[in-house]
């Protein structure tokens, strides 16, 4: 569906005034290659300024790259704009594509004409999306009066009305509450499953990725650092599991053989371990009287943070799937 080879995009950034200023070349994306198959959901991660949005803008045909080959469904995005964009839907974070002062359903109706969606198909889709995204209560409200979550849902509907084969989501859940996020994730999962829509998703909320994507790509400073299954990322770079122990009294020596001491705060002591929990628990209970024990799974969030901060993946050897 999407093939990207050696994609490179630089920006010339002006410093200072028009006359005396110099310009600095900023490599937003350098030598990125990947491909995405039909029906996949891929999470595209990376810290701020990593080059995610730039990649998406190239894929949607908004930006022309400096070099590299890109085809999306057999077309070069920036060469045949109209044919290309007719097959894709895109939602860019905080920006709405709806007409600001028009009721939502009128915006959608207008888009029906823009994309030339047959009347019956449009009705069908509108009915489905209204149900799935619960648009009903605000279909007659102008976009300007919608809450962020409502607007996001309306925008998602707008992006999918014409049955696109591809959906680009650039931070679709930013600023939303837990329930709204969940509803959007559920919807994306649904259209992917039932309509075979290929989804490329950038986000800073790893919940989105955990919930939707089996595959993630991580980009930083314009280079792709990881491309593979979310699960193996976790297995390889995840922090150890954690045992949180509340002793009856603060132990004089919290050290337990075979466990890594992570921290002690009075009677509560945290240990790190790998593998099954039975042995570590047995050791701890043997060590001193225990009131309570909990096992904490490492969070993907922490893993990713470690990757961003520690530059864990920057070794070229880890690049390949």
């Amino acid at each position: 569906m999407i093939t990207v080879q050696n994609l490179k995009k630089t920006f010339r950034v002006r410093r200072g005034g028009l006359l005396r200023g110099s310009s600095v070349v900023m490599e937003a994306v350098r030598d990125v290659s990947f491909s995405v198959g039909r029906g996949e959901i891929v999470g595209y991660l990376g810290p701020n300024g990593a080059g995610k949005s730039t990649t998406i803008k190239v894929l949607t045909g908004l930006l022309v790259p400096d070099s590299g080959q890109v085809t999306v469904g057999g077309l070069v995005p920036w060469k045949d704009r109209r044919a290309h964009v007719a097959r894709l839907g895109a939602v860019f974070g905080q920006r709405t594509t709806l007409w600001w002062d028009l009721p939502v359903h009128e915006s959608l109706e207008l888009l029906r004409h823009v994309y030339r969606v047959p009347e019956a198909r449009f009705r069908q889709n509108l009915r489905d999306f209204t149900e799935l995204l619960e648009l009903g209560p605000f279909l007659n409200t102008p976009a300007r009066a919608l809450s962020l979550g409502q607007r996001m849902r309306a925008d998602l509907a707008a992006a999918l009305l014409h049955d696109p084969e591809l959906l680009f989501l650039d931070e679709p859940t930013v600023g939303l509450d837990v329930v709204a996020k969940e509803r959007i994730r559920e919807f994306v999962r649904h259209v992917n499953a039932t309509r075979e829509v290929t989804v490329l998703l950038t986000t800073h909320d790893l919940g989105d990725v955990e919930r939707l994507a089996r595959r993630v790509m991580i980009i930083d400073h314009g280079s792709l650092l990881y491309d593979g299954a979310l699960a193996s990322l976790q297995a390889r770079y995840g922090s150890p599991r954690e045992l949180v122990v509340d002793y009856e009294a603060a132990p004089t020596d919290p050290q337990v053989p075979g466990l890594t001491l992570l921290g002690a705060d009075g009677p509560r002591v945290r240990y790190g371990f790998t593998g099954a929990a039975a042995t570590p628990i047995a050791r701890v209970t043997a060590h001193a009287p225990v009131r309570d024990i909990a096992v904490k799974e490492p969070e993907i969030e922490a893993t990713i943070r470690r990757i961003y901060e520690g530059g864990l993946l920057r070794d070229a050897a880890l690049l390949k799937r």
């Binding site: 930006l63 704009r81 109209r82 044919a83 860019f92 002062d101 888009l111 004409h113 030339r116």
Partner: protein
């Protein structure tokens, strides 16, 4: 699911059905604008009347003082009204049509990201811009301009012949295209720099005011600049001179009075060529 039932824009289709689709879409976009502006009813009414008032005040000021002087170097109030009305009518119609290309609006679209939204839709970009900033409130200025023009026509005693009608209508069309071209150029410049906005004002609003009065009052230098360098005199001054039965300056042939419908579209074509360069530049920077 039958995806093939959706006819994808961009695929081959008849010229006629494509034209109908585009016109229909343009109409829908304008209607959407009009509807959203009419939501704030009182505000809209006030704005509509208010925006005509500025023009009215300007023309009224001129009309009020002319009795003290008699004429404007041989031009009666009616004859000036003819020029003034033509320029205002064409400019406001142009503003309605080309509003989306006006530099402040276009740079606003670029900044807010709605320009990207246009690019993400499978409709012609220019069509979407044409349909993006339709300021319905200007409609009152159309009526005012038509009124001033009507006064000019009757007060200057024009004999209605097909030729006069052709000259005046051609003049309006030529000016719409000409000033539309200036709007397109100004809008395109904002792909590079927004500071150009003020610079274009001299040409657009300055040009409109310039041709609202008979050009012989400006002295040789200005008049020649705006005849041979920037062909503004062809737009309305020469056609009106001819309609009033006056000779053209510099011994120009009568043909010069008929060139407005040619000069305007030429300007517009050049402007759109520049526009394409600008859009390509945008694809490189995505400012």
């Amino acid at each position: 699911m039958d995806k093939s039932s959706i006819s994808r824009p961009g695929q081959r289709e008849g010229l006629f059905s494509s034209a109908v689709y585009h016109l229909h879409l343009y109409f829908l976009l304008l209607r959407a604008q009009a509807r959203s502006q009419a939501v704030y009813r009182l505000s809209f009414a006030l704005d509509a009347v208010g925006s005509a008032l500025i023009t009215l005040a300007e023309f009224a000021a001129f009309a009020l003082v002319i009795p003290r002087f008699g004429t404007l170097s041989g031009w009666t109030l009616g004859e000036v009204a003819l020029l003034y009305g033509l320029a205002e009518l064409a400019f406001v119609l142009m503003d309605l049509l080309f509003g989306g290309f006006d530099a402040p609006n276009l740079s606003g679209h670029v900044r807010s990201g709605s320009f990207n939204t246009f690019l993400l839709r499978p409709a012609p970009l220019r069509l979407q811009i044409f349909g993006s900033d339709f300021a319905l409130r200007r409609i009152t200025r159309v009526f005012l301009a038509a009124g001033i023009l009507a006064y000019g026509v009757s007060a200057s005693g024009i004999v209605w012949t097909p030729e006069a009608a052709f000259l005046l209508a051609g003049s309006v069309l030529g000016m719409i295209a000409f000033f539309g071209g200036l709007f397109v150029i100004g809008g395109t410049l904002t792909f590079w720099t927004v500071e150009s906005v003020e610079a274009m004002n001299v040409l657009t609003y300055g040009g409109r005011t310039l041709i609202s009065y008979p050009m012989d009052i400006y002295g040789q230098f200005l008049r020649k600049t705006f005849t041979y360098l920037l062909p503004a005199a062809f737009l309305s001054y020469f056609p009106v001179l001819h309609v009033l039965g006056r000779p053209l300056p510099d011994g120009l042939p009568l043909l010069a009075a008929y060139l407005s419908p040619l000069v305007g579209p030429l300007m517009l074509a050049a402007a759109f060529a520049f526009w394409s360069v600008g859009v390509r530049h945008y694809g490189g920077t995505g400012t």
